[in-house]
């Protein structure tokens, strides 16, 4: 067992994990951040995507011990209490989710992408979310939602 420290959505946690414990498992089962979902355990589906030190990563592809000392942001940290973040609002307005299982990961990938993207094309948006699978929406409305968020953020800058 190993002792590690994770700062999740601004809150510092000390926890003890087995060396083989995946980051997603530590977040979900040890710390009760249940937003990130496990869809494949092979890094393919992206439902477990969180931000580690500013980068969107698939939290099933690394061990919790590898994230020792890291700053983690999860979907639970996107909204400001009851006020949804722009990306969340746009996913709702554009019907960018159905069953919602891929949504936490999709939001984290999209939100991270939009930090650096300036007026992205639909093709660039599709490239950005290529590693996040959605079986419900066919992606069209997800691309709409990300495009609309980019427009919204562009206007307020």
């Amino acid at each position: 067992m190993r002792e590690i420290t994770l700062t999740v959505n601004g809150q510092r946690h000390e926890l003890t994990v087995e060396p083989r414990t995946l980051l997603v498992t530590a977040l979900r089962e040890e710390l009760d951040y249940r937003g990130a979902n496990v869809g494949c355990e092979t890094g393919r589906c992206g439902a477990c995507t969180v931000r580690q030190d500013g980068d969107a990563i698939k939290s099933c592809t690394r061990f919790a011990v590898q994230a020792d000392g890291a700053t983690i942001e999860t979907v639970e940290g996107l909204a400001d209490d009851d006020e949804l973040a722009p990306i969340q609002e746009q996913f709702q307005e554009n019907h960018g989710l159905q069953c919602g299982y891929c949504t936490p990961g999709m939001l984290m990938t999209a939100d991270t992408f939009l930090r650096d993207a300036d007026d992205p094309s639909r093709e660039e948006i599709r490239d950005a979310i290529e590693g996040n699978l959605c079986r419900c929406t066919g992606y069209h409305n997800i691309v709409d939602a990300i495009e609309a968020t980019a427009d919204q953020l562009g206007e307020t800058e």
């Binding site: 937003g35 494949c40 949804l84 019907h95 299982y101 419900c136 929406t137 992606y139 409305n141």
Partner: protein, 789 residues
């Protein structure tokens, strides 16, 4: 519709944002794996590594000795416990072979993935570690994975009772009439079609949490279910033997289904049974690989289709023979899907005077096959649409022209097809023209000809479909072998303070029922959506239900909500008449308000009447207090959504690459409750249709192992593989549905695959390619155009 129709801005028919979304967006929704109970244990299942083998011995001693292992169970332990232990079929057919389907294998394993033993441990890791330490000794047997081989070749039998592996041999239609049509017709054409297995790939793998109370002998099971009442019934009657009134099944948030979460699988029963043994809560969560091995696959058809057509384009007959894989076990709708759900749509949108189909259902040493989005209808429409294209080639005519020549005319509805269905309503040519207008079909054909001169190959694929949705009525389904009803139930309850609660027997997996049902009730009752709650997915809160599958929730579940609401409204009208001292016939209703005709100031709001109904102080003499209705809606027929989809692709014969340049889906699902939700269903459906056409398909290697066992080996389409979609609707209400709705869940999946295949085949016409089997990969194209020769 209702007399509430004069509400200025009707909530029914508008793109109301989904009330489901906020918890999902915030990561606060509770899926099954998010449920933790005190003292909860974890279960893992040891699965067969072999396609077909005799179990010689199962040694659990090493596993039992491990730290944190609570118990290890084998198939023999389950059998010895005396529970019924037999997962049943939900659809009987003449001479259907129904081998016993135990929740853990006994004596033999029949496919890779069959459960052999189960471990209960203190943690998920411990359970999975211990499963690997169970020592199973097998005597390997020969196996078969292809349905046609299973029947025609000298291969071992998957089940002793199924001679030549035949589970059923089904016929529909008039063979003599078809023979005559083929003898008379000017032309005949044929096409062989292989529809591979599709793995449904709900993003949330299946899971269950069982909590047995040994004192009260009550069981509560949370699970990934599209139909918790069906699961309750089957676990009560057929596997666990717990009385139905002591068994609660809850479907919490469910992350997609597409058919795969309809069925009663062994796993949830093993989880429940294990909880009874260890007398603690037990959680089982499938890995993705387990899902691929055990979630029922879809399709697996090996078909020969022949079509007879005259010089003028009139289709005279259709003859179909299909070998359909059932997999190693008969799943609930494994018999219904490739028989009735498949053959009865073979007429598509066309007038075909003679149709005959024979389907042989074959057991194979593979994952069971059952309904996947489009179930049966997708396979049937694929057959007729490919046959129409092949016939157009034979006649050297435009495939759209051939289709139009044979469409069922609008004035012929209700239309009885030669495949035993009565279509309710349709405007087929209007739908087709709407789709063709989107792409400017004639201009596109000219452009195609020009580009061919330059050595570029674009293809235009057009496919039309009819879907039989909302399987019903119960009596007719029963006559054909169904062991389940075709109804849906809803309780429409005014609470005493005037809010409304709807309890509906369907179960959402992303469709947005909590929004759309509230829209229906708001319309019927004249009450704000904000005052309406929708409850689904819990057998203790909703007494009865059939669930969500077969594009049935909006039409059958929505129908039950609407009828229940109307009954409630009529009771309220009588209370209003009584308290306003007027005749019932003089009470008018609009926007939630009852008022006396000609005296608008004498009025009561329906929410105030609800309060009166629960006070019970001043009721009509013959009326009980309260304001709620339980409605069981058993439709008089299927509904028949329809539409036409068009794809434009460019194919590069040198590389085999297929570029989808335009995709148009025009769907007619009758009245539309929420256009945004309908569009979302169509988008997702198209994606799955294209996925099957170009990317997806499960396969087994020569040892009978699933080759596509992980997400990096099975091509679920990702964002860069799909185009933007253009969608449109025509609206032809169902004449027999209470709200005119037809359903939309499966339509676009049914349409998507034949549309794409038609487009690619059209692009490759100069290479004399008239059909390519799916998935059409770049290699498929490259070989078909002479690559490698």
């Amino acid at each position: 519709m209702s007399d509430a129709e004069d509400v200025a801005e009707s909530v029914f028919g508008s793109s109301v944002e989904r009330r489901e979304d906020v918890p999902l967006l915030k990561g606060e929704a509770t899926y099954t794996d998010d449920i933790d109970l005190p003292e909860m244990t974890h279960l893992a299942i040891r699965r067969s590594d072999h396609a077909h083998a005799r179990i010689v011995d199962v040694d659990t001693s090493d596993a039992e000795a491990m730290d944190d292992v609570v118990a290890v169970f084998t198939g023999q332990d389950v059998e010895d416990s005396g529970i019924p232990n037999a997962i049943p079929t939900a659809w009987d057919l003449p001479n259907l072979v129904q081998p016993k389907y135990r929740i853990l294998a006994l004596e033999k394993v029949r496919h890779e993935g069959d459960g052999v033993a189960a471990v209960v441990a203190e943690s998920r890791h411990a359970a999975r570690d211990a499963v690997d330490r169970i020592d199973v000794e097998y005597e390997e047997l020969d196996h078969v994975t292809e349905p046609r081989d299973a029947v025609e070749r000298d291969v071992p039998e998957v089940h002793e009772e199924a001679t030549d592996n035949v589970g059923f041999d089904f016929e529909l239609g008039d063979a003599d009439a078809v023979d005559e049509a083929f003898a008379d017709a000017d032309h005949t054409a044929s096409v062989d079609l292989r529809l591979p297995r599709i793995i449904p790939n709900a993003m949330e793998p299946r899971a269950a949490v069982a909590d047995w109370d040994a004192t009260t002998e009550e069981m509560r099971i949370w699970m990934t279910s599209q139909n918790p009442h069906l699961h309750r019934m089957l676990m009560a009657a057929a596997t666990l033997g717990i009385p139905e009134n002591k068994l609660q099944v809850i479907a919490p948030e469910v992350g997609g289904g597409f058919g795969s979460k309809i069925y009663h699988y062994p796993d949830e029963a093993v989880t429940g049974w294990a909880s009874m043994q260890v007398e603690r809560p037990v959680k089982w969560q499938a890995t993705r690989s387990e899902s691929y091995q055990t979630d029922c696959h879809g399709r697996d058809h090996d078909t020969t289709a022949e079509i007879a057509v005259d010089d003028d384009g009139t289709v005279r007959g259709l003859r179909v023979e299909t070998y359909a894989g059932l997999g190693a076990h008969l799943s609930q709708f494994g018999s219904a899907t490739p028989s009735y759900l498949y053959t009865t749509v073979l007429s598509g949108q066309y007038q075909i005077p003679a149709i005959h189909a024979r389907v042989v259902g074959a057991f194979t040493n593979t994952t069971p096959v059952d309904a996947y989005r489009g179930a049966g209808r997708a396979e049937g429409i694929y057959v007729i649409e490919r046959a129409m294209d092949v016939a157009a080639r034979e006649l050297d005519v435009d495939p759209v022209g051939l289709r139009k020549h044979n469409l069922v005319p609008s004035e012929d509805f209700p239309y009885e097809s030669a495949a035993a269905l009565v279509y309710d309503s349709g405007e087929y040519e209007h739908g087709m023209d709407t789709a063709l207008d989107h792409v400017d079909y004639e201009a596109l054909r000219e452009r195609q000809a020009e580009l061919r001169e330059e050595g570029r190959y674009i293809g235009i694929g057009v496919a039309s479909f009819v879907e039989s949705a909302g399987l019903s009525p119960s009596e007719a389904a029963g006559n054909l072998g169904s062991q389940a009803g075709g109804w849906e139930s809803a309780i429409v309850r005014f609470d005493s303070t005037g809010t409304v609660t709807l309890f509906v027997g369907t179960a959402d997996q992303g469709q947005g029922h909590r929004t759309t049902y509230a829209q229906i009730a708001a319309e019927e009752l004249g009450v704000s959506m904000d005052d309406i709650e929708v409850v689904e997915g819990d057998t203790d809160r909703i007494p009865q239900g059939m669930g969500t599958y077969g594009s049935r929730s909006a039409s059958v579940g929505g129908g039950a909500v609407a009828r229940g609401a109307r009954e409630v409204r009529e009771k309220a009208r009588r209370i209003a008449a009584h308290q306003l001292e007027a005749s019932v016939d003089d009470i008018e209703f609009s926007d939630g308000e009852f008022h006396v005709a000609g005296a608008p100031d004498r009025s009561m709001h329906i929410q105030g009447i609800a309060h009166q109904a629960y006070l019970g102080h001043d009721m009509p003499d013959d009326m009980d207090p309260g304001l709620e209705v339980t409605n069981f809606y058993d439709p008089e027929n299927f509904t028949f959504p329809f539409g036409t989809h068009v794809a434009v692709v460019e194919v590069d014969p040198d590389t085999g690459e297929i570029d989808i340049q335009q995709y148009v889906g025009v769907d007619d699902c009758g009245e539309i409750i929420n256009p945004m939700v309908v569009e979302g269903q169509v988008h997702g459906g198209i994606a799955q249709g294209i996925g099957a056409a170009l990317f997806e398909g499960a396969s087994y290697d020569e040892d009978g192992h699933l080759e596509t066992r992980r997400m990096d080996e099975y091509a679920v389409p990702h964002s860069t593989q799909l185009p933007d979609f253009e969608t449109d609707n025509t609206v032809t209400p169902s004449p027999h549905n209470p709200i005119g709705v037809k359903g939309v869940g499966e339509s676009a999946t049914i349409a998507g695959t034949p549309t794409l295949v038609a487009a690619v085949a059209d692009a490759l016409e100069p290479f004399d390619v008239d059909h390519l089997d799916i998935p059409i990969t770049p290699e498929t194209v490259w070989r078909a155009t002479g690559g490698g020769e």
